[in-house]
Amino acid sequence: MATAIFEQLINGAMMGSIYVLMALGMVLIFGVMQVLNFAHGVLFMIGGYFADLFFFHVTGSYPLSVIFSMLSLALIGIVLERAIFRALRQNLPMQIVASLGLILIIQNGVIQFWGPAALQMRTSSVSSLVKIGQLSFTVQQFVIIAVVAAAVVTLYLFLMRTRLGTAMRATSQHPEAAVVVGINPNRVYSITFAIACALAGAGGALLGPLFLIFPQMGDGPMLKALSAIIIGGMGSVPGAIIGGLGIGIIESLSTLAIPTDYRDTVVFAILILMLLLRPWGLFGVRVRGEC
């Protein structure tokens, strides 16, 4: 039994890391701009497709294609923010309409361009195995956990130590005061979107080789990441990290107890309970006033 739990723990940590990458992006955008980006799932997905494109057609090296994929997603993020989301900051219904529009365009654009079939991206890190006791894991699983851990630390240092990172935190805490001290809000918004989309791209590029790259690959992780940032507390970065990891691990461990088909239901049931009992989440600040 212990080995089964250990195996699910590793799987949970790996999937949890993917959710963390996605959740970090969404929580940054929500924290700084009060925009809920439902299209984050498809951005995650084209991260995988770009990684595949760069890997097979541009550079042979997998790490480089992950980086190129992140850079192209960062560019896409800046364009999306500038053209669409900046004007919709106060308008939640239109944020949703715009997100749905993006989902339709990107998901079906990918099917049109790459075809509906899933892509296989056999990298060395996926084929080689690691043996722990009698369990064997692919190296990629540990690559994901390590890369995400590094990303979280880098993001933390960026937010805490650098001028731009502090400016982002300042803008999310007091937008008017940020303008008064000379922070250009538009610049902060586009940088936030660039980072968020790059993280999503990294997620797609990391998960792609392990499973398959297909047009709907981002939908599940997006819903889990959305649950993570709500359970963690809207706008709280630590909340998103712990929420993401937590959901990944709970989800995997739950497969030991209940049929795997109900894996998603467990997560959504927790989400609904959390929303009813503690809508401001684990780390969120309790927002007073009429709901």
């Binding site: 502090t166 935190r169 805490q173 008017e176 000379g182 250009n184």
Partner: protein
């Protein structure tokens, strides 16, 4: 130093400030008083280009800065401290000060300015790693002033600095303003606390329904009957 001509401003379809002329010279403290709703805060917001609807001319040292975007006003030497607490609550005091110098990309100069400002406000130096939210109302006001001084602006606009402060803190705020004026800065204050503010100022403007009704030396205004009558809505 700061000259304002024919300023109009408002928001939500409401025109609140309706043609105001103002002057603030270097080393002078000027206070704008008037019942609330007269448009005091809107004047500062309109000058700083943060009011959606605005017209008129604003010049600093003769240079037109009317259409400078609000986050660049500090580069032309104009600083503004909003009415309600404008510290970054979940940033430490040191980080708040660093954000004051966001526009400086010279780290050494920033550090020099921070230590100079911490010298002026020792309380901030002692608690520099605590979150700004842990400071009292008066201490937060000091942090806002200190943060503004990092960029060494020529003109500082304060929106009701004494609101919600204990009397001891109010005197500290006004004496700090006097210290800055003596250092050559131009101070434009909007205040509710009429007597205390006028005592600390050189000149005053009395605002009613978005227009300047009386302008005079501060001492004269304190004794002026018309001011209290105006406050009570008695047509003089």
């Amino acid at each position: 130093m700061l000259t304002v001509r024919g300023l109009k401003g408002g928001y939500g379809g409401k025109l609140i400030v309706d043609g105001v002329d103002l002057d603030v010279a270097a080393g002078e403290i000027v206070t704008v008083i008037g019942q609330n709703g007269a448009g005091k805060s809107t004047i500062l917001k309109s000058i700083f280009n943060m009011a959606p609807v605005r017209q008129g001319e604003v010049a600093l040292d003769g240079k037109d800065i009317f259409s400078v975007s609000p986050y660049q006003m500090l580069t032309v030497g104009l600083a503004y401290i909003p009415q309600h607490h404008s510290v970054f609550p979940k940033l430490t005091i040191a980080e708040n000060l660093r954000m004051g110098g966001y526009l400086l990309n010279d780290a050494a100069l920033l550090q020099k300015r921070v230590t100079k400002v911490e010298g002026m406000f020792p309380i901030l130096a002692q608690r520099r790693n605590e979150y700004a939210a842990s400071l009292s109302g008066g201490e937060q006001r000091m942090l806002e002033v200190a943060r503004t001084l990092i960029m060494d602006p020529k003109v500082i606009m304060l929106d009701e600095p004494s609101i919600g402060l204990a009397p001891k803190m109010v005197d500290l705020v006004f004496s700090t303003a006097r210290r800055l004026a003596e250092a050559g800065k131009a101070i434009l204050m909007v205040e509710q606390n009429v007597k205390a503010a006028l005592l600390a100022s050189d000149r005053g403007y009395v605002l009613e329904l978005g227009q300047v009704r009386i302008t005079d030396d501060a001492k004269a205004l304190i004794a002026d009957e018309r001011v209290s009558r105006l406050y009570m809505g008695i047509r003089n």
